[in-house]
Amino acid sequence: MASVGIRDVRKAFGTTAVIHGVNVTINDGEFVVLVGPSGCGKSTLLRMIAGLENITGGEIRIGERVVNNVPPKERDVAMVFQNYALYPHMTVADNMAFSLKLRGAPKSEIDQRVKRAADILGLGALLARYPRQLSGGQRQRVAMGRAIVRDPQVFLFDEPLSNLDAKLRVQMRTEIKELHQRLKTTTVYVTHDQIEAMTMADKIVVMHEGIVEQIGAPLELYDTPHNLFVAGFIGSPAMNFLTGHVRANGKAEFEGPGGARLPLATAPASSDGKPAIYGVRPEHFTIADDGAEATIQVVEPTGSETQIVAKVGGQDIVAAFRERHQFKPGEKIRLKPDPRLVHLFDGTTGQRL
């Protein structure tokens, strides 16, 4: 096991720069998730750690060693690919044994390691099968088995659950997390799904257009997003953003669209009249008589909670309630955000105020 250090790493394909100086420190044994929308450079960064893409600038360390010019096989990393990349002409056992065979490990050791990995993943009965004879979830497990037998310094996962159906994805998510708690191998996991990131990570790296927007523990990102992008990306349903102005004379307030007055816990006097963006998560609304008037458009019960889409001052917002209110479309209600849980962002820079 080892730490991974990423220092000012840049990547350009020809003249197109896709990663603009990324710094991330991944501690020994940590489960770090790189998350961001398509094209944010997260997979490219992972492939640079693996050695499948060369590094245009900066440096990557695995343990104490700078690996910029170290070929993949000498980096002692194992990777799980999105399409699993199982060797179709090899059985499950041979797939898992391949790296050990290349390394020239003795047969007894290979058998023992493959057996151990198969036991961990419950693949014992499938060892003689070929990948085509496996279901999606089984293939996913074999891909992980192939990584486990290597006992590498770092596990790299490139969107490993994207090809699974929703139910299996949730199940495998738990399995991967359990596996990490058991093996404690440093893990870098790439996904575009913020729920995967939130549920699995010790530390999340939010990337956007080739830069890191914020690094932190899942709840840290949820509670104090540094900017509009992180605020909108983390959390589902997404945070509501209302544009307007801060009113700081006397009682701190936010003047939202259509003159709607929304509460603020505090606001420095200097910010009076400043254009700002008021962010509030759907689950942080309550129904209160002194709330802003809202007209319900759509009601979406999910069982555990009920989400409503409502118009506040002409703008759509989403609110979610655990309680079972009897909402009807067209009904007027008064929504009040919890002022302590409100996020305020600068109207021009999008940075947290």
């Binding site: 070929p71 096989k73 990393v77 990349a85 391949f98 004879q133």
Partner: protein, 316 residues
């Protein structure tokens, strides 16, 4: 109401036998197959059957023969020229196919890499395949000409040889020369087909293997080659069949000479049957090729059998 029922019944009466034959699912398949089957029977099965029949007769050009049993074959078994052509054909096929495979595979691997001007190079590789065989044979005939050969001329100028090489006049020189021409012509087919096969291999397999510690050679040995075997089997079967039955190249370049050194079974058959008029004997030579060709097909048929890893969701 009753009227209506009766009228509907009349309309829905049993369709005629012909209508049923035209619309029945099983018969429909037969109808669709008929044109192709007729074509194959007329232009493939009939000539093949006729050829085999002729080989059991003493037919000559302009004279229908009578059945003579295995007489033609008995005659051939004592004909040293026939055995020479068998030797030539096997040598020609083995050497040319082997080299075509090796060079074709090499080119395919090369073209599968990131290369500058890849599209142009791929197109260039196909040129020998596009040029009509007779045209390229004539070009080679000139290249190998005893007096005007540019190869001999170049080597002379370089001071590597002291007299012009008798490419097509010496038996072994002639054999290697026609083999060379055949390889030149056959490589693109092998290369392009194998390239198509290579492109079906997912790049992530190579990435996975590279991370697993495979060297470029091990990537080829354990990933590329096993995944390519089904296509290799197809392409090599075709290559062997085409080479074994080659006619045009030899006929234009050497006509089987010198002293039958480059006669293949196909050219010898043509010479005996058409040039000399012994249709029965010529047919027997041609028919004698069938066991060799069947052998090649059988080898590839077993090679082509779906391997276990290609099979579907069967458990076990």
């Amino acid at each position: 109401m009753t009227d209506a029922v009766i009228r509907t019944k009349a309309i829905m009466s049993e369709p005629s036998l012909w209508d049923r034959l035209m619309t029945n699912r099983n018969w429909l398949g037969f109808w669709f197959m008929l044109p192709a089957a007729a074509f194959l029977i007329l232009f493939l099965a009939y000539p093949l059957g006729l050829g085999i029949w002729l080989s059991f007769t003493d037919a000559r050009l302009g004279r229908g023969g009578v059945f003579v049993g295995l007489e033609n074959y008995e005659f051939l078994s004592d004909d040293p020229t026939f055995w020479l052509t068998v030797f030539n054909t096997i040598l020609y096929t083995t050497v040319a196919s082997t080299i075509k495979f090796a060079v074709g595979l090499y080119l395919a691997l090369l073209l599968n890499e990131r290369l500058p001007f890849k599209a142009i190079i791929r197109a260039v590789v196909l040129i020998p395949f596009i040029v009509p065989t007779v045209l390229s044979a004539i070009a080679f005939w000139w290249l190998f000409d005893p007096q005007f050969s540019i190869i001999s001329w170049s080597l002379m100028k370089l001071g590597l040889i002291t007299q012009y090489i008798n490419f097509l006049g010496d038996p072994w020189n002639a054999r290697w020369s026609v083999i060379f021409a055949n390889i030149w012509r056959g490589v693109p087919f092998v290369a392009i087909t194998l390239l198509a096969g290579l492109q079906t291999v997912s790049p992530s397999l190579y990435e996975a293997a590279t991370i697993d510690g495979a060297t470029p050679w091990q990537n080829f040995r354990y990933i590329t080659y096993p995944l390519l075997t089904p296509i290799i089997a197809v392409v090599m079967t075709f290559s062997v069949l085409f080479t074994f039955t080659d006619f045009q190249l030899i006929w234009v370049m050497t006509r089987g000479g010198p002293v039958n050194a480059t006669h293949l079974m196909a050219t010898y058959s043509y010479q005996r049957a058409i040039m000399s008029g012994y249709l029965g004997e010529g047919s027997a030579i041609a028919t004698a090729m069938i066991p060799f060709l069947l052998g090649a097909i059988l080898v590839s048929w077993f090679g082509l059998q779906r391997r276990k890893w290609q099979q579907g969701e069967d458990n076990d």
